[in-house]
């Protein structure tokens, strides 16, 4: 599995409560993987364990059990860290510095030989070209998100790990972020995206993993997750006009036969799709520990 950018196997993370007498299991034996070049949505309600999982993936938290590997190596390995970009949730950088200073220092820390022009290009791409020399102290949450995206893109990463990247953004900025994510993905970058915005995940992700109360409840391709097995839509022709009929799977064959007997031409029979929100709600309700 050396080619797999991210593999999580039986991951568990528990935190000790006060005095260390009892513990709270934030992540409970979850397994999934991210394939090269795909965008994996990582969903779950608040407190489901998404950020904890991401921190384990980045080596910020030590797993209580299980294994996380990036291209088959330990997350803390330097050769692995050079290949990833990270956009944190609610980024907070040292507010006495400017975006350009951060770009300069991070490029030096990552041993990237970047010219100022190259840094300007990235800052321009994330919409910070007019703010490059302004201290982050005066930035809004959305602008700080832009700084963290610029820093993540700086090293031309092969894997982008994004934890609620568009949380504090307005709709226009959200669209810009989405476009950048898709552009990066077209460049071949694998993307691990944690988000609350289901419409966003629905638009850009190939697959999704849904967590609830620390457990994985759903994993699969979005198309498969949203397709219902029990309802179908029949499109047929009635004297030059097109009509549709939604029908339960049990009645499907009988309905098709009836329509044919009546002389209506069947154009298509497709499974009905639910919204991701419906998938999410049905997956996350009723999961108890």
């Amino acid at each position: 599995m050396g080619d797999c950018p991210l593999q999580v196997k039986e991951l568990e993370k528990s935190f000790k409560k006060k005095l260390g007498l009892s513990s709270f299991r934030a992540v409970d034996s979850i397994s999934f993987q991210l394939y090269p070049g795909e965008i994996l949505g990582f969903l779950g309600p608040n407190g489901a364990g998404k950020t904890t999982t991401i921190k384990c993936v980045l080596g910020l938290l030590k797993p209580s059990a299980g294994k996380v590997s990036l291209w088959g190596s330990h997350p803390a390995a330097p050769e692995v860290r050079r290949r990833i970009g990270y956009v944190p949730e609610n980024p907070d950088y040292d507010d006495l510095f400017t975006p350009l200073e951060f770009m300069t220092m991070f490029s030096s820390m990552r041993r990237l030989d970047m010219s100022r022009e190259q840094m300007f290009v990235i800052l321009d791409r994330v919409g910070l070209s007019k703010w490059e020399n302004v201290r982050i102290r005066s930035f809004s949450k959305g602008m700080k998100q832009r700084v963290s995206l610029a820093l993540a893109l700086q090293s031309k990463p092969e894997l982008l790990i994004m934890d609620e990247p568009t949380g504090g953004l307005d709709p226009v900025a959200r669209k810009e972020f989405r476009d950048i994510i898709l552009e990066e993905n077209q460049r071949g970058v694998s993307i691990f995206l944690s988000s609350h915005l289901l419409s966003e995940v629905e638009t850009i992700c190939d697959r999704a993993v849904i967590l609830s109360e620390g457990k994985k409840v759903v994993e699969g391709r979005l198309e498969d997750l949203m397709r219902t097995e029990d309802h179908y839509r029949i499109t047929y022709r009635v004297s030059d006009e097109q009509e549709e009929l939604e029908i339960h799977a049990a009645l499907l064959q009988k309905t098709i036969d009836d329509l044919r007997v009546k002389g209506y031409g069947i154009i298509s029979v497709n499974p009905l799709y639910r919204s991701l929100e419906e998938v999410f709600l049905s997956a996350t309700s009723g999961v108890g520990r």
Binding site: G59, K62, A76, D94
Partner: protein, 251 residues
């Protein structure tokens, strides 16, 4: 090494942009200036007095600076979550610790140089010669300050800043005591106290202000040994601090 140097410079800039450091430096200079004024109120041997108290002031300044510089760096990084994007991608925990330490150590060195020059000026203004041993004595105080800085970093990985300062001051005080002096603190358990004291550093190694003030010559070999001892203890404290830091979860 390049990432560490870059991060150290980033730390240096950060510390210089925070005004508290300038405040501490100004307090040190005012204290030195005050020491220069006291002899005119009738104490004899004023050169000795200025030198003795001036070096003492620098030592206390080194302690205060170490606490002021380092006790809040990691807790603030953790609180504001600025440590996450740094540790997550460009730097390892060891590089983070070294970068932060080197940045703070540079500020401490600069402050000690300023203090030493201030003391020199006060001595000259009062018509006294500047003993050549004053410079290596300041260097030893700086090594002591760096050691204290390592101690503060060590404490900062498992205590809060309000607890860090008294712990460091306590270590600073008890490390000056002899074994017999330390046992006197709790004479009921002399064996335990002896064992505890032997684990603590011997900060009296850095104390040469008195002989210098009295015009005595300190052998060059002693300076080298004291510097080596201080740097070795500093390396030890940083290693233990790193082990503690590596075992910590960054929630």
């Amino acid at each position: 090494m390049k990432p560490v140097i870059t991060f150290a410079l980033m730390t240096l800039r950060n510390l210089l942009r925070r005004r508290t450091i300038w405040g501490i430096c100004i307090v040190i200079l005012i204290a030195l200036f005050g020491i220069g004024q006291i002899p005119s109120y009738g104490v004899s041997n004023e050169g000795r007095f200025i030198l003795d108290f001036g070096l003492f002031g620098l030592e206390i300044g080194a302690l205060l600076l170490a606490i002021g510089l380092a006790s809040n760096i990691y807790p603030r990084d953790r609180e504001q979550k600025t440590v996450m994007p740094i540790i997550a991608v460009p730097l390892s925990r060891g590089q983070y610790l070294m970068g932060r330490f080197i940045g703070a150590a540079i500020v401490e060195a600069a402050a000690m140089i300023v203090g030493c020059i201030g003391l020199m000026v006060i001595l000259l203004m009062n018509g006294h010669a500047v003993p050549a041993d004053m410079f290596p004595a300041t260097l030893l105080l700086l090594i002591e300050g760096w050691f204290l800085l390592a101690v503060v970093f060590f404490f900062s990985f498992w205590t809060s800043p309000p607890l860090n300062a008294p712990l460091t001051v306590l270590l600073f005080i008890v490390s000056q005591l002899s074994v017999s002096g330390f046992i006197k603190l709790f004479p009921q358990a002399p064996g335990l106290m002896r064992a505890l004291r032997l684990l603590l550093p011997h900060m009296d190694v850095f104390h040469i202000k008195d002989p210098i003030a009295h015009g005595m010559n300190i052998p060059g070999l002693y300076f080298l040994l004291a510097i080596f001892y201080g740097l070795a203890y500093m390396a030890f404290m940083l290693s233990v601090a790193l082990v503690v830091f590596r075992s910590r979860d960054l929630k």
